[in-house]
């Protein structure tokens, strides 16, 4: 591994850790159900741009960490993240050439699918939650996506120039 590769990997890891922190930061009650899925957004971006290094394996590990941090069923977020990243990697070439609006719509669909998988697993496992509350993160995540992707492409530009 050259120095460039290592620093590049480090930047991606740092961005994922920051997303992780944003997921855990305490928020007032009313805002809680509108917390975007920061980790999912970040992983979608990296899976789209660097699908060889950031693929389903790393998503799965991050998912397990999320499960532990949030105290959900062990493997729930891992499964959901893994599937979402798989779809993203599968269509990454297509998604890269999408115009912003179309890409945002795609991200909306991915986020909705992600929440649906969580909802579905919760349903099987008897964790009760009002179904409406699953829509909050989808909507806020879609709204915040352009900003996230802009910030992350800033990071990507920097590490690619540095290479």
């Amino acid at each position: 591994m050259t120095g460039g590769g290592r620093s590049r990997r480090l930047s991606v890891i740092v961005s994922i850790i920051v997303a992780f922190m944003l997921t855990l930061v305490p928020m007032p009650d009313w805002a809680l159900s509108f917390r975007p899925d920061w980790v999912v957004l970040t992983l979608i971006y990296w899976a789209m741009m660097l699908p060889r290094t950031w693929s389903v394996g790393s998503a799965w590990i991050v998912g397990l960490l999320l499960d532990v941090a949030q105290g959900t069923i062990f493997g729930q977020h891992a499964l959901a993240l893994c599937l979402i990243v798989f779809i993203t990697v599968r269509f990454h070439l297509l998604m890269r050439v999408f115009p912003v609006l179309q890409l945002t719509a795609t991200v909306f669909a991915l986020l909705a699918l992600y929440q649906f998988i969580l909802f579905w697993i919760n349903g099987i496992a008897d964790v009760s939650a009002p179904p409406v509350s699953y829509w909050g993160p989808v909507i806020s995540g879609t709204i915040i996506w352009p900003v996230v992707s802009m910030l992350l492409s800033g990071v990507r530009m920097r590490i690619q120039l540095g290479r």
Partner: protein, 294 residues
């Protein structure tokens, strides 16, 4: 290095992606089944929890810093006021405690007379809530002590006013606890006034518990204090849980509609107290350790 070069330009498929996904999904499902049906994965969780711990600390740091700043910049006047208030409170509590000691002695004597096993006093330790509120649909908290301090699964959490919840998962240095207001939590209680036993269920709201299994003719009224009955085994008996606010008897329904407000301010607590009862699994280990250190 071929890999990282090719990352952005090579349009070829990622090799064996489908197989990898299938394997990972299968492992996830296996993990979920193991975790949910059997709960075998406590150790694995604890290990991974150590990796997450630094992140939780960092997330929590600004809040602690803020607390520290506001504490250290409190005006002298305020401090003096607080000291005098606390002094007054201490006097009052001391007076009550004196009575309690007398009562405890009397109780022990009476129990001796009845040749009953005397109740050992519970051991208590304060834990701080790390301000990590994970999931809006589940009332869970993370506290800053874990297996290292002999916390065990099912251990009771109380605050100054009443029962808060119980530990559901212990890590090495942190533990997860479920609040009594969580919709999936139920707590065996009794009415302090007459010893009527029933179950208090969480509703998902911090200021409301439901008592769904009381018949219409049950002797319960607004203002009744509900205390733990100790029947479930997790909670020691006699800790206040909630106060009944409304009793709605519906003639055509088999059960009355009874609502209570938790005594503990579940959405405002920063610290909780963990209780070790004499019969708890950790108490035995604790006793051993104390023996060896002496």
């Amino acid at each position: 290095m071929v890999h990282s070069r090719a990352d952005n330009s090579n349009p070829a498929r990622i090799p064996a992606l489908g197989i990898r996904v299938l394997v990972l999904l299968a492992i996830s499902i296996l993990l979920m089944v193991l975790d949910h049906r059997q709960g075998h994965l406590g150790k694995v969780r604890a290990v991974i929890g150590v990796a997450v711990y630094p992140i939780q600390i960092v997330v929590d740091a600004p809040f602690r810093l803020w607390e520290w700043i506001s504490e250290s910049t409190t005006a002298r006047n305020d401090l003096q006021l607080e000291v005098s208030r606390l002094n007054a409170e201490r006097l009052l509590t001391n007076a009550r405690l004196q009575r309690l000691t007398a009562l405890e002695a009397e109780n022990a004597r009476l129990r001796d007379l009845l040749e009953a096993r005397s109740r050992v006093r519970d051991e208590i330790r304060v834990a701080e809530i790390m301000a990590v509120d994970a999931n809006p649909y589940r009332h869970n908290i993370v506290i800053d002590i874990g297996k290292r301090d002999n916390v065990y699964d099912g251990q009771a959490l109380v605050d100054a006013n009443g029962v808060v919840g119980q530990v559901i998962e212990t890590g090495l240095t942190t533990s997860q606890a479920i609040l009594i207001s969580d919709p999936s939590h139920a707590l065996p209680i009794e009415v302090n006034r007459n010893g009527l036993r029933t179950i208090a269920k969480g509703t998902g709201k911090f200021d409301r518990l439901d008592l769904p299994f009381l018949p219409n003719n049950a002797d319960i009224q607004p203002g009744d204090l509900l205390v733990t009955s100790g029947l479930g085994g997790a909670f020691p008996p006699g800790y206040p849980v909630a106060v009944v606010t409304t009793v709605n008897r519906i003639p055509q329904e088999p059960f009355a509609d009874v609502i209570a407000v938790p005594s503990a301010a579940l959405d405002q607590i920063r610290e909780v107290m963990l209780i070790w009862t004499a019969t708890s699994p950790a108490a035995a280990a604790d006793a051993n350790r104390e023996d060896s250190t002496e």
